[in-house]
């Protein structure tokens, strides 16, 4: 990475005490994202992707234990005092959650929520803030924005609510937007619209974006880089095009293969991944994916593979038996 990273997650682990023992939700993750870049974090439920985003935002549950550093724009968010952190969040570090109903206040109008954000962070006066709000709602594709200002979240559809949440997130021109499964709760046609909207605004504002999803299809055309997570760890990381061209980690490959393809014939048996993800309160000694991996052998059950560079330095994977690349020199 040539330029200075905007966000750099350094050796971050998150532990949560549970009645069944310690749960390691995020296990020694290192990630970087440069200004204006997009990073996709992909994984199944329970892989730690949401906990990682909460660790970046410093919005972890109170009893959670975080170690490592989260460097954002030259400051370590883990050690930042609460007041400065609060100023940073919403201003230069914004987030869009899966369910817009949980991020919008149900008893305040859309207008109040937008104007409040603008006044708080940008110290605009009432009229200017209101004008900006209308512009923002129009920018995220909300028809009749003036009228929407007086409406409450429950009067809008799911897709419209998500647009409002995005408008609020974008309102202070953040440097980094974290979108945590922003379209999972939405229908497929609305999903496409929202993803296009995020991509358009990201480019236009030269804002960095982390797109968290369980769907490899969502990150494929819309990110510069992808990190695949499994059982709290990043198991493969690469520029998006390189990753889809040659996946090295068997889990990534299996995850892609398990998605039903629209161009496959009906009744084609899907290559399912047997078993299920490990119980995070019962850590596995070796590679966490080994019990489900068809390439696993001796060493995989004893030792945890570390994330290491493949043939190019920006493609990394954590595997002892990576998928061999059939060299395509003259067939």
């Amino acid at each position: 990475m040539t330029d200075q990273a905007l966000l750099s997650v350094e050796d971050v682990s998150v532990d949560l005490p549970t009645p069944r023992g310690n749960l390691r939700a995020v296990d020694r993750v290192d990630l970087k994202i440069g200004a204006g870049r997009t990073l996709g974090i992909v994984g199944e439920s329970g892989c730690g992707k949401t906990m990682l985003s909460r660790a970046i935002l410093q919005l972890l549950p109170k009893k959670a234990n975080l170690s490592g550093r989260v460097m954002f724009d030259g400051q370590d968010l883990v050690r930042l005092d609460p007041e400065r952190l609060r100023k940073l969040r919403g201003r230069s570090l914004a987030v869009v959650f899966q369910d817009p109903m949980t991020s919008l206040n149900p008893v305040l109008t859309i207008g109040t929520q937008l104007v409040e954000t603008l006044q708080e962070h940008l110290e605009l006066d009432g009229n200017v803030a209101k004008r900006r709000s209308v512009e923002l709602l129009a920018a995220v594709g909300i028809p009749a924005p003036e009228q929407r200002l007086t409406q409450y979240p429950h009067q809008l559809s799911g897709g419209m609510r998500q647009r409002v949440a995005i408008a609020i997130a974008l309102s202070c021109e953040p440097k980094l937007l974290i979108a945590d499964e922003p379209t999972t709760a939405l229908d497929v046609t609305i999903q496409a619209q929202i993803l296009d909207l995020l991509a358009r605004e990201q480019r236009r504002r030269h804002m960095a974006m982390i797109l968290i999803t369980h769907d490899l299809g969502v990150v494929a055309g819309r990110t510069d880089e992808v990190a695949v997570m499994y059982a709290g760890r990043v198991v493969e990381r690469a520029p998006t095009s390189a990753l889809f061209k040659k996946m090295r980690m068997p889990y990534t490959e299996a995850l892609l293969a398990a998605i039903p393809k629209i161009d496959a014939a009906p009744h084609t048996t899907l290559p399912a991944i047997s078993g299920r993800p490990p119980d995070p309160t019962r850590p596995i000694q070796g590679c966490s994916f080994s019990p489900r991996c068809r390439y696993a052998a001796g060493q995989c059950y004893r030792e945890k593979p570390l994330l290491a560079a493949a043939e190019s330095p920006d493609h990394q994977y954590a595997c002892f038996h990576p998928i061999e690349i059939t060299t395509d020199v003259d067939a």
């Binding site: 199944e44 439920s45 594709g141 559809s157 897709g159 419209m160 229908d187 497929v188 046609t189 609305i190 999903q191 496409a192 619209q193 993803l195 296009d196 369980h214 769907d215 490899l216 299809g217 969502v218 494929a220 055309g221 819309r222 998006t240 095009s241 889809f244 299996a254 995850l255 892609l256 398990a258 998605i259 039903p260 393809k261 629209i262 161009d263 496959a264 014939a265 009906p266 009744h267 084609t268 048996t269 899907l270 290559p271 399912a272 991944i273 047997s274 299920r276 993800p277 489900r292």
Partner: protein, 329 residues
Amino acid sequence: MMQDIQPSLSRDPLLKVEDLVVEYAVGGKTIHAVSGVSLQVARGETLGLVGESGCGKSTLGRAVLQLRRAVSGRVLFDGQDLTAMQGDTLRQMRRRVQLIFQDPIASLNPRRRIGDIIAEPLVISGVKDPEKRQELVCEVLSAVGLDPSLVIGRLPHEFSGGQCQRICIARALVLNPEFIICDEPVSALDVSIRAQILNLLEDMKARFGLTLLFIAHDLAVVKAVSDRVAVMYLGRLCEVGPSEQLFARPAHPYTALLIEAIPVPDPEVRPAESVPVGEPPSPISPPSGCRFRTRCPRADQRCINEVPELRAVAPEQFAACHHPLIAAD
């Protein structure tokens, strides 16, 4: 007389839905959930039913089972009209039709043991011998890939989502039904588990000679298991046709929009800048004429005035559109 618009007439229809209308009253308003849907499912076939949330696909599934009574129309199962049945006769028929829901954990009683949950349908249908019940329970549990000895005595919370869905499938199979309605059976599951459950459903279908109505919003998932696919929008059927044909050459603009919107897991395929087509209108006051017209790039005056009927656009493929993307030769 309604025209016979359904394909596979040469085959034996196990389920025939005729001009079904289902409405809900909510706060003095009427929700037009299903407005005149006709379809058939041939014996041994899987019919996929797709559409976005609120299109009425789940209501249709429930109305087939008479869990929601229709305002008008008929549901013929094996030649008998379920809408005319009551009480015991209906209960007898329901043994032959089972339902699997989206949320596998919520569909299992958290306080009962798995063995009892699966035996319950047998108790209700009058299998009195406990040993016989036990035997049948073990049989279906093995069939869905669970070890009966490890599962029977445990409670639902001890299982993952994927395992709970296996248990739900076992419960649906225990009465040896002919027809299963799967209502978004894999939507709540992770990708890796989803493939397991889809494969299991296919296996069970072959093994027990089942006929399936597979309801889902994910077109790729529907295509993976269906022989034919029916597309619903705002309470009406837009298009019906053989899966492969429908995906290769959609006739209805809505089908085309749905296919285009699927994210493709390949960075080489640039996502098509989606046309800003808005959102589905409310089923309380659906648009006149074609219900899709408010989002349709091809809509004109005729679409406002006239409700399009399902018409053949290709062999076995039918679309309800005044301006289909493909036309009958």
